[in-house]
């Protein structure tokens, strides 16, 4: 059995590095051990080779993905304390909030990307980067299988595996087609830089094709009908960008078809931008109406073909089809297959999204963290722990909780269950002790377990899942890197709240999202913004705020300079309409 197990492991090792380092495997069956001696002359640290060093081995951290979450994690990580390897099919970080600007050439694609190697080069300690796609996470054996996504005739099969002590899953999400027929074949998306570049070329294609001799006016109109499915911030911003591109630049170059252009936004809900304050929503709808952008709300797309898009219009209760030249599908995200596979392995198969606890640890498997769009924080309900909380707070074990006993645990309670604070706010309660008032609003000196349960019974209704935004992902990445950097320190002196069930303290404070607001650029140098403290701002000045925030948020000075000079170039020379 020992021999069989050795061969199985050896064969796996050879399979993982099939043409790689020539490994001379010496084994002593008596001890059952396996000593691998690398004969390779290569200086490139092959990840399995570093194992037998004399100094204590650093913990191996594998990071999957270089989007907002992964990059934010890497930016702040003290890489000298770990053996860090990053795997991503893209060797760059893309500033995705500017993707709609790339579709029309307001900003160039190169201006919003920064090579990952540039970012990790500046870290303390070495970080290795592999441009490859993670095709399998093997949580049982603590390894990931990766494959190079380079589609060329270069030598080497490009498949390899990495073992980890800690895995950070920051793989993001994929487009959600809701299984609508024809979407994958005939729609454009707006998730990757390549998508934006493709849209840019296709928009010009529509104009060039529409203007050719020999087309009927109807055909020209069809080719110049741009449809956006999804009235969220991305879809709306793209519609606005496209309208500006047409009004400010293309109209001069294609004057003969200027009256044939039409932009339609299809939204299943009753309003566009419905995740924003309704003042913003109606401001955007009014602006679009003035601009001639048609907003078709209450419509659900049933199918997309090469020439038409078919939808169910709720208000009319009928199904209608409209011809299109270009469709951009921007409706939401779903789980990637590799994450779905991990979920099956760890008993999360029935969930929609990979769940983590408040410390961003994936539930159901060890040493795996997940951040960004691929995951959702599954917050602990207070009612599940209510008995334990009561028991922990009831110091004198008399079965009743005094105000002072309650106040003792309240600090930990608020940290551990963020919904408590939100509930207090929503009920306009100044003090936590207000929770313990009786039904007539009178203060009570003490409560029993049933009264305590009743007092906290509505708190859990305030739990909200976090939106799939760059802001959340970036904060999660930063939070997680802080935990990694303070692992030893907080191991000795835990900083987290009390563990009500098992006693003791959590090692770290749980992740807490802080919303800094959100922008919705609406074209024509106008924008809307939801700012912290329920502030709403709209108009030209908001667009300038948008410019300054987006310039300041750039990941490097290089991209900052490029983005600002792109904006300047656009003001001076307009957008380029070359089809490249």
């Amino acid at each position: 059995m020992a021999i069989w197990s050795f061969f199985a492991r050896a064969s796996r090792a050879f399979h993982d590095y099939p043409v790689g380092s020539k490994l001379l495997v010496l084994c002593t069956l008596s001890s059952g051990g396996l000593v691998a001696y690398s004969e390779s002359q290569s200086h490139i640290g092959s990840p399995s080779v570093d194992v037998n060093q004399s100094e204590p081995r650093k913990k191996r951290v594998v990071v999957l993905g270089t989007g907002w979450a992964g990059t934010s994690f890497l930016k702040d990580l003290d890489a000298s304390a770990y053996d860090v390897q990053v795997v991503s099919p893209r060797n760059y970080f893309a500033f995705t909030p500017l993707l709609p600007s790339v579709t029309c050439g307001t900003v160039e694609a190169r201006s919003i990307v920064e090579p990952v190697r540039n970012i990790i080069k500046k870290r303390k300690g070495e970080v290795k980067f592999w441009e490859a796609e993670c095709i399998k996470i093997d949580a049982t054996n603590k390894q990931v299988i990766c494959r190079s996504n380079i589609d060329s005739n270069l030598v080497g099969n490009g498949e390899f595996s990495l073992e980890y002590d800690y895995l950070v899953v920051a793989l993001g999400a994929q487009v959600n087609t809701f299984n609508t027929p024809g979407v994958l074949e005939y729609c454009h998306f707006l998730k990757e830089v390549e998508d934006a570049q493709k849209i840019r070329r296709s928009v010009i294609d529509c104009f060039e094709k529409a203007i050719l001799p020999g087309l009927s006016e109807e055909e020209r109109r069809t080719n110049l009908h741009f449809v956006i499915v999804g009235g969220g911030p991305t879809g709306v911003e793209f519609a606005a960008e496209l309208h500006d591109f047409f009004q400010e630049d293309l109209v001069k170059l294609y004057p003969s078809v200027k009256d044939l252009v039409k932009i339609t936004v299809i939204q299943s809900g009753d309003h566009i931008l419905n995740m924003f304050d309704e003042r913003i929503s109606s401001f955007a709808e009014q602006k679009f109406r003035r601009d001639g952008i048609e907003v078709q709300t209450g419509s659900r797309v049933l199918s997309v073909s090469d020439k038409e898009i078919t939808m169910n219009v709720k208000s009319k209760g009928e199904v209608c089809s409209i011809p299109h030249g270009l469709v951009v599908w921007s409706t939401g995200v779903s789980t990637r297959p590799v994450v779905r596979d991990l979920m099956e392995q760890i008993g999360q198969g029935k969930r929609h999204v990979l769940a983590t606890d408040e410390w961003l640890r994936v539930k159901g498997c060890e040493s795996v963290y997940a951040i960004g769009d691929c995951t959702s924080v599954d917050q602990r309900k207070i009612r599940e722990d209510i008995v334990a909380i009561f028991a922990a707070a009831d110091k004198d074990k008399n079965g009743r909780l005094t105000i002072s006993e309650f106040q003792d645990v309240m600090g930990d309670l608020i940290i551990r269950y963020p919904q408590v604070e939100l509930y207090l706010k929503s009920q306009h309660l100044g003090d936590v002790t207000d929770l313990l008032r009786d039904s007539e609003g009178n203060d009570r000196v003490e409560v029993d377990i049933e009264q305590f349960k009743l007092a906290l019974s509505h708190v859990d209704s305030q739990m909200k899942s976090l939106p799939a935004t760059a802001q959340v992902a970036a904060q999660q990445g930063a939070y997680l890197s802080r935990c990694f950097n303070r692992r030893d320190e907080c191991g000795e002196n835990p900083e987290g709240p009390r563990r009500f069930r098992s006693g003791g303290q959590h090692q770290f404070l749980p992740f807490r999202y802080k919303h800094f607001g959100q922008f919705a650029p609406l074209g024509g140098e106008q924008a809307a913004a939801e700012l912290p403290g329920d502030w709403v701002s709209m108009g030209h000045s908001t667009q300038w705020l948008w410019y300054s925030v987006y310039a300041s948020k750039q990941v490097s000075w290089r991209t900052r300079v490029l983005v600002v000079s792109d904006w300047t170039r656009r003001f001076v020379f307009g957008r380029d309409s070359s089809r490249i």
Copy 2:
């Protein structure tokens, strides 16, 4: 017969605009005329519709291509005098001499392109542009068949035909593979903007693939072996750019493979840059040797496979194969199929390149002009006209030519046969009359026909075909537009030289190429240049000359600003290595 002919024409008209304007065709058979009435509501001038206007119809000029030749023609053309239509598969002009810089991100692709519509918008008069590929030139019926090259699901079949009174063929040339097996499948080229962008991505691919875990050192070396076939200016500049990109930027990002990178230039001749002065050639070879770029001269590539390139090394007299990661094929140009088809139609089937006369009129068909890389000026040999010249010069018809009679025709002779001037220069003859000296070098008072033939017998040896460069194409375009602009003026007062055979004068001066020199950037901020008057300049200062010349030659202020800011960006931040 008249009815048949009408239907044939009508059916052709319908075929050419199959789904286009709804043409209501009214005919009066008595007069045999055809009146077409357009019912179309479209404002887009369908090219066949304008025919029956009350004011005299402008001559229709169709221009094929928007490269150096076509764009240069359009830039200077007085479009108000003609009905001008331009057809090109690319809706932009590309500043091709900067393509090698685009391959490594020294300059961005967008910075070297300018939309054709921007260029023609500034012309006096309207110029129509159609983004389509010319698939057939029908010289007999004076029309071109075009097809949209947009590969998408947009409506309209995109095929149309244009009739012309004058056709300007500026289609450029295609890559010459010399029928070497595997070149089309496995090599990169450097003719279009897309080619340069593809090379840029592929170079990064080579590095990303080479650095992956699990590859042997040999495999890493193979992936990092960059081979350039062709030691002309483009190939050499690309090799230099690639070396700079690696030395200045990539070495910091991929330090573990820095010793495995190799660049090889394969040249069939004995020296690289052999069209330049040999001082430049050896300067370049020495520079490359210092940089570690291998120059393999005297080697002819026999075949290219996905992994290897096989060549015949003359010096060793053997065939050898070397593994490669990326091959760029840059060896010369050949005729495009559509031009080849035209050549077959007009009896030029046996030639390699489409021939024009000195007025850039295509030989063998009427009203067709050809400029740029797709054509070659077939200069008239003086010995073919020698009898006519003698007869025209011999005013007193005494069968002998005096010096003064000769001097009378000499001006026209030098204009008509540019080789005369080159011959005088090459023989260090100060005066044309020196040509008439006898074999001992004594002046003669007069010569007979045989002596005259002998005197001019070596002149034709100085005829040289023009190189396929941007400079030649641009000058031809500018020359031709001048002819078009002065067509009426020069119809009345011809400006050309005397017609020795048929009498009278040529309408225009023949095209004369003026060489302004040529650059060869060699990397490391050094360049070599051949300047007018056989000047040769090499080194850092030449690179600065290169910068200023290339900045000044940009087609618009927009591209000028962009190119200069790209150079600046490169100095400050280096080149971007994101794989997009």
